[in-house]
């Protein structure tokens, strides 16, 4: 559904942001994008809903070119986006108003807005906080609110740009749980992070470095064959464990084993013949 061809992007100050990116994202796919700070992840995903326009090359969403301003509204209805900072993307004075902001912009009838808001809040488990102001919500809750706001747009694809990096570990787990849940619904998801363990169950992962895609493939091939260390990324302990298990001849299903519980179970059942 998303097609990026020969995309290059230069910042207004001349700095080169992206170099020759080619990428196709299929409907229903869960794509992980990893890379160190400043590697160009945010710059890339800002092209997916027309916040940035290619300097060279072309980005099209369901066939709509993002460079054409008349497509923008439709494109932003198709690709939703959740950002890193929970506070600056909370634009309403209460939680339900914030979630309603998007549907209101689409000029939907109030009854439909109500329904979408309620549904979205239910998915993220904040239905009892409707009238809370941003002041009384925790960082994790605000970030869940941002996810609900994107859900209320009912877009085909949602891009998450480092949504857990400003959160403490407990809320991070909460947010990950929601993403795992969302994955089961048929939606295209682009998930940006610099924590590899968050994309172990992705369908496909790309590593970015200095504005380029340097690795691409299933989490298994990318995190084994290549050397994320070279690109400033840290292999999480789970991955090291998986890698060394495979090195000893175990056939493992990474998508399933990305969850620690599943992995423990598998090891347990294998009867410690390691």
């Amino acid at each position: 559904m998303i097609r990026i061809e020969d995309l290059s992007y230069d910042f207004p100050d001349g700095a080169q942001g992206l170099k020759q990116i080619n990428l196709k994202i299929e409907r229903g796919e869960f794509l992980g994008i990893v890379g160190r700070n400043g590697s160009g992840k945010s710059t890339l995903v800002r092209h997916l809903n027309g916040l940035l326009k290619p300097t060279e090359g072309k980005v099209s969403i369901n066939g709509m070119d993002t460079a054409d301003p008349s497509n923008l509204l439709k494109i932003r209805q198709t690709v939703g986006m959740v950002f890193q900072n929970p506070y600056t993307q909370f634009v309403g004075t209460t939680l339900e108003e914030d979630v309603a902001f998007g549907p209101e912009n689409l000029a939907l009838p109030p009854e439909e807005i109500r329904e979408r808001v309620d549904r979205a809040l239910e998915v993220v488990g904040l239905e009892n906080f409707k009238n809370h102001s941003p002041k009384t919500l925790s960082g994790g809750q605000s970030q869940c609110a941002a996810i609900a706001s994107a859900l209320a747009m009912k877009s085909e694809c949602i891009v998450f740009d480092e949504i857990s990096s400003m959160l403490d570990s407990r809320s991070r787990e909460q947010v990950r749980e929601i993403i795992r849940k969302l994955r089961k619904k048929v939606r295209t998801i682009v998930y940006v992070t610099h924590r590899l363990e968050e994309v172990l169950y992705a369908d496909r992962v790309i590593i970015m470095d200095r504005g380029e895609i340097v690795r691409e493939g299933s989490p298994k091939t990318v995190f084994k064959a290549s050397d994320p260390g070279k690109f400033g990324l840290e292999l999480p302990p789970v991955v090291e464990l998986l890698n060394s298990l495979e090195a000893r001849g175990f056939a493992l299903d990474w998508a399933r084993l990305a969850s620690i519980e599943n992995l423990a179970e598998e090891i347990w059942e294998s009867g410690w013949k390691i």
Partner: protein
């Protein structure tokens, strides 16, 4: 605490249920009456009317009075200024500043007027969600030909609600930066001008950066300043027309007497 001033108080009173446009019209109308009133008797009547509305709203009077407290000094200043600057019969003959009976009367009247205006405004904000006030203003402005000025009533409403949303964060940022600069040895007492720059520059920088993020988030959610609807669409009820009728009758009577 500025946090408690002009805040919304949850409730389900008659006043809470009125359309924000009704309440905005009422506050404007009552403000005019308050401004025109020259007699203490009339002021008394307007105060009684305020107390009546407060009673209906179920909001505690002390809460509303607290909203006025930050401006008490200002009101006191007006009072003193009138007291000493108005010519007339001296209360006590003092050499330079002479308090006069006329000044006392005028000062009291002006302070009452100012205080009462604030109290009516506080009653409005206590019984109406900020977003509802914004909605009401948007609907009242919608028929105006604002397009020629390059904005829409929706833009104005969004700006208002964003200010309401982000003002506290702005003040918080200012306080944080001030504390940080003080910790680094900034001396506000000796070099105020440098001190202000040291606070303003990072504050503006930070605010502009967040403003950009806010804009991106809004654009990503299809904001374009065009026609939009609202989760709480406004509808004038029978109750609203009744309230406006009562208000009209009260005003006419008040002006006639």
């Amino acid at each position: 605490m500025p946090e408690t001033a002009f805040n919304y108080v949850y409730g389900d009173s008659l006043l809470h249920r009125l359309d924000p446009r009704t309440k905005l019209a009422a506050v404007m109308c009552l403000s005019i009456l308050v401004f025109r009133e020259e007699s203490f008797a009339g002021m008394g009547l307007l105060i009684s009317f305020f107390l009546l509305l407060t009673g209906i709203s179920g909001v505690r009077l002390s809460f509303l009075l607290r909203s006025v407290r930050p401006l008490l000094f200002f009101i006191f200043f007006i009072f003193c200024f009138q007291l000493f600057s108005t010519k007339g019969t001296p209360i006590i003959p003092l050499p330079v500043l002479t308090p006069t009976y006329e000044g006392l009367r005028l000062g009291a009247l002006l302070s009452l007027r100012f205080g009462l205006l604030l109290l009516y405004a506080a009653l409005l904000t206590a019984s109406t969600l900020p977003s509802q006030i914004t909605n009401g203003i948007e609907r009242l402005l919608r028929p105006l030909p604002l397009r020629h000025l390059g904005v829409t009533s929706f833009d104005l409403a969004t700006m208002m609600s964003l200010s309401i949303r982000f003002l506290p964060s702005f003040l918080e940022n200012a306080a944080t930066i001030r504390a940080a600069q003080l910790a680094r040895g900034l001396d506000l007492r000796h070099d105020l001008r440098r001190g202000i720059t040291a606070i303003a520059v990072p504050l503006i920088k930070r605010s502009v950066l967040s403003a950009e993020e806010v804009t991106e988030a809004m654009e990503s959610r299809c904001y374009q300043g065009q026609c939009r609807t609202s989760l709480h669409e406004l509808r004038m009820q029978k109750l609203d027309w009744a309230a406006l009728l009562v208000l009209g009758a009260f005003s006419l009577l008040f002006l006639a007497v």
